[in-house]
């Protein structure tokens, strides 16, 4: 044996990770809408397990101290929490930039005024379609579109900056030009054209959601053209559709590198889909300080940096650009969270991924499996 004297005191000499910039606070999973691509997990947290106000306030204080600059108050529908304004005021006090991510259904003008007075910095409002017909169908909520329009106008009347978020898929991808027009008409400064990402609910509904390759490439051209035409007037951010891509998306800009996500029940995740990876040990803010979780939770260190990468990624010149792509997608498609993301053309499963997309895209009209609390089987 080749025995080399090594000091035993430093089994893992890992440099401390830089502080996170952003925190997604999923205040609740309750939501009046039932979008079939919802980023919440399939097993939704119920109201009874949600963190209380005081715990959230502590988490926001700890986040600010840790170096978080922006907090995204999300859900579910965050306005379902009656203590939202209290949380916003606290975030402002500790110096956090607050972004409200809302579906805009059931939010009265009085509530919006209170949210504005509390000091919200920015509002992101979802539109499931550019027309009432599509929004109401995709969200499974009759009248949702009209309510969203009213909320958007109220947000602008209050002088708050507005982002329109539209998740695109087979039923609405043709509406991208209309989404952009809608954003302009509503006075939004920014629009997100986010292609549905296939984890959790969206993976369940992939057969109903997947667009064709031609649709996706047309969409990319439309966005490119609009971006150039509307420079200085409307910022257009796009989340790319990676099933048809050559390179994987740099998911979260690297696992445990820039941001973290707190679930309604207090679990802290490196990304909102991370619970789809079995065997990861997620720590909870009820038991650990946020900084301790960021630095030491096994789930955060599992895929941090480049050490965990398979040789295919480790030897790639893009390893610190793509950060290995998406771990949840590797899990979903390759059955191994540490595999090369199949969205990468170097992955042995790349052709398989493309075949899955093409088969789903050719599926015609498929009924949605709408997002909902999965009712336990009482038939016994």
């Amino acid at each position: 044996m080749n025995v080399v004297a090594q000091p035993l005191a430093q089994p893992i000499a890992r440099p401390a990770p830089p502080a996170p910039y952003g925190m997604l606070a999923e205040l609740t999973h309750r939501c009046p809408l039932q979008c079939p691509y919802c980023s919440n997990p399939v097993d939704l947290d119920r109201r009874t397990v949600e963190l209380d106000t005081q715990t959230w306030l502590r988490v926001f204080s700890e986040a600010a101290k840790l170096g978080v600059l922006q907090v995204h108050l999300s859900g579910g529908e965050p306005t379902a929490r009656r203590d939202l304004e209290q949380m916003i005021r606290h975030c402002v006090e500790v110096g956090l930039y607050t972004n409200l991510i809302t579906a805009g259904v059931g939010v009265t003008p009085e509530r919006l005024a209170a949210i504005s007075d509390a000091g919200i910095d920015h509002v992101q409002l979802s539109f499931q379609g550019a027309t009432a017909e599509v929004t109401d169908k995709v969200s499974n909520f009759r009248g949702a579109h009209e309510r969203k329009l009213a909320v958007a106008r109220e947000v602008r009347r209050l002088g708050l900056p507005l982002t329109i978020n539209s998740v695109v898929h087979r039923a609405n991808i043709h509406q991208i030009p209309d989404f952009i027009e809608l954003a302009l008409e509503l006075g939004a400064g920014r629009i997100e054209i986010a292609h549905s990402q296939y984890y959790g609910w969206a993976l369940r509904n992939r057969g109903a959601l997947m667009p064709t390759r031609d649709q996706v490439f047309w969409a990319l051209d439309v966005v490119e053209e609009a971006r150039a035409r509307l420079k200085g007037q409307l910022t257009i951010d796009a989340v790319v559709p990676d099933y048809y891509a050559k390179y994987p998306k740099p998911c979260m800009n690297g696992w445990g590198r820039q941001s973290l996500n707190v679930t309604p029940a207090g679990k802290v995740l490196p990304c909102h889909a991370a619970e789809t990876i079995p065997g990861l040990d997620f720590w909870n803010v009820r038991e650990h300080a946020l900084e301790d979780i960021w630095l030491n939770a096994p789930s955060f260190n599992a895929f941090r940096g480049t050490d965990w990468m398979p040789d295919l990624c480790k030897s790639c010149e893009r390893k610190e650009k793509d950060w290995g792509g998406c771990r949840c997608q590797a899990m979903a498609i390759a059955g191994d969270a540490a595999a090369t993301d199949p969205a990468c053309h170097k992955s042995p499963l790349h052709a398989h991924l493309l075949a899955l997309a093409e088969a789903d895209a050719a599926g015609g009209e498929v009924a949605y499996d709408y997002r909902r609390y999965v009712v336990p089987d009482r038939a016994n």
Partner: protein
């Protein structure tokens, strides 16, 4: 290039905040879904963008605080603010006499 009207009063748009980032020891400009890192010169200008001072007052104050030719500062401030205005980070208000103090 069209210069900005120097009597105009710049203000950070709603949804934009300048703050010191203690954790990283730097100034940051926070905007919707964006964190910008202004350089030291930009920080000095931004600290004076308060919705009260006009562009000419900002230039005067910078010229007396730093030993740099006023004309050069005026050019830099104009270019910097024009760029932020295009990005929607700064808004400009034309003021009539008496408004500036409110």
């Amino acid at each position: 290039m069209t210069a900005l009207v120097t009597s105009a009063v710049p203000r950070l748009a709603r949804g934009v905040r300048l703050r010191h980032d203690e954790a990283r020891g730097q100034w940051v400009l926070l905007a919707p879904e964006r964190v910008l890192n202004p350089d030291p010169v930009a920080v000095e200008i931004l600290k004076k963008v308060d919705g009260v001072r006009s562009i000419e007052i900002i230039v005067d104050e910078l010229a007396s605080a730093f030993t740099v030719e006023r004309a050069r500062i005026a050019t830099d401030v104009d270019a910097f603010l024009a760029g932020l205005k295009e990005k929607g980070i700064v808004t400009l208000a034309a003021v009539t006499v008496g408004d500036a103090a409110s």
